[in-house]
Point group: C2
């Protein structure tokens, strides 16, 4: 079997891993995997980090297809977009 046949899958995998390969981001995913959805403020409190930093991460992870965002009133509820990210996370935590 030829390596090049994996090309696209590898590209996709590397892309997703890059979007997750960060402590803050892993922490976001862990929190969201436990609670379905959370507001930015809740996450700021969970992670004990700056609002703007979190916002940057959230915006980017959303742009990269990892997270969903639902607005309601003043709040913005983030959630995990694709179930498979949770499987991946579990595997990462198990094997790392």
């Amino acid at each position: 079997m030829n390596v090049l046949s994996h090309r696209e899958q590898l590209e996709k995998a590397a892309y997703t891993l890059k979007a997750l390969a960060n402590e803050t981001r892993l922490c976001i995913v862990i929190q969201l995997s436990k609670h379905d959805e959370k507001t930015v403020t809740e996450l700021v409190n969970d992670l004990n980090c700056e609002q703007s930093l979190l916002s940057h991460h959230l915006t980017d992870m959303r742009a990269k297809g990892i997270l969903n965002c639902r607005k309601s009133g003043k709040n913005c509820y983030y959630s995990i977009k694709d179930e498979r990210v949770i499987q991946l996370l579990e595997c990462i935590l198990k094997q790392c």
Copy 2:
């Protein structure tokens, strides 16, 4: 349960993910998971990339505890150091 109790594990996980979040590196791991060990030249041919680029990746992945290296004559045989990386890879390819 407190998020901070996961701190070290998260750090480790992020560290490992960073060491893998790259197409070339994933490809290296795939090749090595199929063949136990390979020389740099074999990998250069598999991946069709520059020797020095590969060498940089291999050196760094070794420094980060992902790969092993065994010298014999002119050749250098690289292999996967920790079985768990293979499990992780399989999971990544399955979920991504």
